[in-house]
Symmetry: C2
Subunit: 477 residues, 2 copies
């Protein structure tokens, strides 16, 4: 048998024939995540059904020196789950159980393949929910959220994934089981749970997550305001933050995004506005009324041309529907779009948005902007046609220019979507050589064979020489 | 010159004669932190006055292969800042500047030697404050808070240090500068900022911290309730949490702690109670009134013998005064006390408290209990006389028994005080061999010479043999 045949045969022994996919056509659904600019097919797709099977696959790949790439629902936006052509794609979708919910401790123990929204649905009978809410929350898995440290519209108030989980069970590349974090707020020694969160499948494979649940807020309301200029909208964001209000969410959309979202969802957005803001406040009824009217007043003082406050829950959901469908809505404006993800200091909002529009003209590509304005996280959506190689190249360069700009104004290359394969080359814009060396050393401490998600997340430089000589090494592409 | 003379002479060149202390009597104030069970004197105490001087001292110690132990205000409770007898004690108290406050970004850039409370005082004119509030906040430094990932009474709602900082500038043991974290909510790649936070001086020396500031709450009120049994008080804690209220703080004190605190501070606590609870709610006036009356009702339903709600800010401060002075108050009950720090699942509260009292009888020592009940973090204060060797030994064993019990019921050996030298031997109770190996590997990635705070925090086992052979190595005592 060839070494590949050995791999497949051993995988089938572990997982059963039905849970190992080697046929190229059946592998197609797994060739990319939600960033289809990068595609590969793996040697094999493996779908383990238990912790033990995950461990067996990892041990097998360790023995055979095969790379392993983990995948949840494939909704990631940085190519982090793109398969390795000489590796196993470890798909965790069958590990989709909610193990238990403890309403007193306000925690849920879940498997990585559970969809984000399913956790809140399961917790709802106890008056609890799981706070981080990526746009893809119907589909994206909690395991993927941990891998990317996902945020969402409400992370301004409730934090990212790392702020909403308590412990992780994981297996190292050699198949060793580790438990990091604990039931308490803090745990002794180095914070390995935080280190694992956002580590993009480079350090270990998570098989169980204990998440924190929050009491569902009594009520939430949203204010929507249209502004005649980006600068006014940016200043209005600053005014809310300066007033000492912590909104549950504070989002901005520019004209093109508003127009696309309105076509798609009829949310009632003002198409004539240069930008709109959506500001949500949640809490007790009295607190929400007080803050909502304060926000509406601030928006008017900052020159809002229109201000709408949600009158009931249905209306609130409608006002959000446009924002939540902005990505697919913008997707109808061109054959393809490329979603960027950088952060910038809040006071740079209008400067950066102006620059992005200028860059769009330079590269000859349209761009729609959706911002988590409250925390300075931008999501420019670059419009292009993937069937035209020049546009693909221009879209990539346009994206890199936006990230370089983000770093230049004091921000960073990834707010919540991760580095993956997409931004590997940008890591040296963000980090010094000493910092990159340290990241590589930590990667090495967890995964000395450098077999977990090689070629993603952290550039591997120091060990290139050493590993290049070895057979079957895939540490850099 | 001897190698020690070389060290001292070079330190004096870097820092000036006034900022290098070698006289044994002048070193006495630095021989321990707030856990005086462990004492040592260093070769030299170094007091750098700038980032550059910190870097110079680290480079010097790297060249000469000398251990370095960092110290803030010395209020730590795990012996983490105890000097190394053959090393330099790097005291960061002169780096006490607030570099700037940005009210719009709600951040402050500060040096490590700034006292925790000073940050809130400086932010107050902007209506902002820094949330984590350890009992020692008048004295303890933000650098020490980062080293221990400190919490405080309000961490139930506002999180630990790691949840309230954005970025760190640090120097490695070789004097390389790193910047970890960033202005945004998240930063790309592995979360080195979270890894550094709570790393107890083992990974690097922090010279600048960007902290997040929060808007000062409009109002805060507190409910104090006395219960006739520990079990009732424990159930009342559960009732509050189950009702979906997130108090700003939820504290429990047992009879001995109440009695000592009342003698000390005349806060108006009911001496006849088996335990009291203090529950604070903050926010807008309406929200606070709603939640406070709900908490008071729940306490009554759970059998509270007395319930008092703060009538104004002075009264609120008075009710807290007893809790905040509990440690010094208990300190008057015996020549010495030993403060433990473990976490347990909330539902184990009454079981664990009963066991602690039983262990107290077994070891023949008194014990007063102060709990961060809301998050299951216990602080038993063991009373003993340090002049009696048998009592010292019994106090240590009693403490270990409490931590072993905490792990047994599903908790951990340190809630917020750290591992230091105190709990180094307990790390193997908490972690598997694989987990300890990984901690050691990460330590090695940052500090390959194992010179930063050796003998503390993380047991160094794998590399013992290798390093034992080298001259002047102090990696384990």
């Amino acid at each position: 048998m060839t070494s590949n045949e050995v791999l497949v045969s051993r995988l089938r022994e572990c997982l059963g024939d039905d849970h190992v996919i080697v046929e190229r056509e059946l592998q197609r659904p797994y060739e990319c995540d939600a960033l289809p600019l990068y595609r590969e097919l793996p040697l094999a797709v493996a779908l383990p059904g238990s912790d033990t099977e995950v461990q067996q696959v990892l041990r097998l790949c360790h023995t055979l020196n095969i790379p392993v790439v983990a995948r949840g629902a494939g909704t990631g936006l940085c190519g982090g789950a793109m398969p390795h052509p000489e590796g196993v794609l470890l798909v965790l979708s069958r590990l989709d159980g909610i193990i238990d919910i403890d309403p007193l401790a306000r925690t849920a123990r879940v498997q990585p393949g559970v969809a984000n929204l399913s956790i809140s649905e399961a917790a709802a009978p106890h008056g609890l929910y799981y706070a981080p809410d990526p746009s893809s929350q119907i589909a994206c898995t909690i395991g993927g959220n941990v891998a990317e440290n996902s945020g969402g519209v409400h992370c301004l108030k409730y934090g990212l994934t790392v702020n909403n989980i308590l412990s992780l069970t994981l297996y190292t590349s050699e198949g060793e089981k580790l438990v990091v974090g604990g039931a308490g707020l803090d745990s002794p020694a180095l914070d390995l749970m935080a280190l694992m969160t956002g580590s993009e499948g480079l350090l270990g494979i998570v098989t169980e997550i204990t998440v924190q649940l929050l009491p569902s807020p009594e009520i939430a309301k949203v204010v929507m305001a249209g502004f005649d200029s980006i600068t006014e909208a940016g200043d209005a964001v600053s005014a809310v933050i300066s007033a000492g209000i912590i909104p549950a969410g504070l989002e901005m959309m520019d004209r093109l995004a508003v127009s696309a979202a309105e076509d798609f969802s009829q949310a009632g957005y003002p198409r004539e506005a240069a930008a709109i803001l959506l500001c949500e406040v949640d809490g007790t009824a009295e607190e929400v009324d007080q803050h909502i009217s304060q926000v509406a007043d601030l928006f008017r003082q900052q020159g809002a041309a229109s201000v709408v406050i949600s009158v009931d829950e249905t209306h609130r959901q409608l006002l959000w529907r446009g924002r939540k469908s902005a990505f697919p809505a913008v997707g109808r404006l061109a054959p393809d779009y490329y979603c960027m993800d950088g952060t910038i200091p809040r006071h740079q909002l209008s400067h950066v948005l102006t620059e992005i529009h200028r860059l769009g003209e330079q590269y000859g590509l349209g761009v729609a902007n959706v911002f988590h304005a409250g925390d300075g996280n931008l999501h420019p959506l670059i419009l292009f046609d993937a069937s035209k190689p020049e546009q693909v190249s221009n879209a990539k360069h346009f994206g890199e220019s936006i990230l370089t700009l983000s770093v230049k104004v004091g921000g960073c290359i990834s707010g919540e979507h991760g580095v993956g394969i997409e931004k590997l080359g940008m890591m040296s814009e963000q980090f010094s050589q000493e910092e990159l060396n340290l990241l590589e050393d930590i990667k090495h401490a967890f995964d000395p064979g450098l077999r977990l998600n090689p070629g993603k997340g952290v550039p591997i430089l120091k060990r290139c020489q050493e590993y290049r000589a070895l057979p079957r090494q895939h540490t850099h592409d």
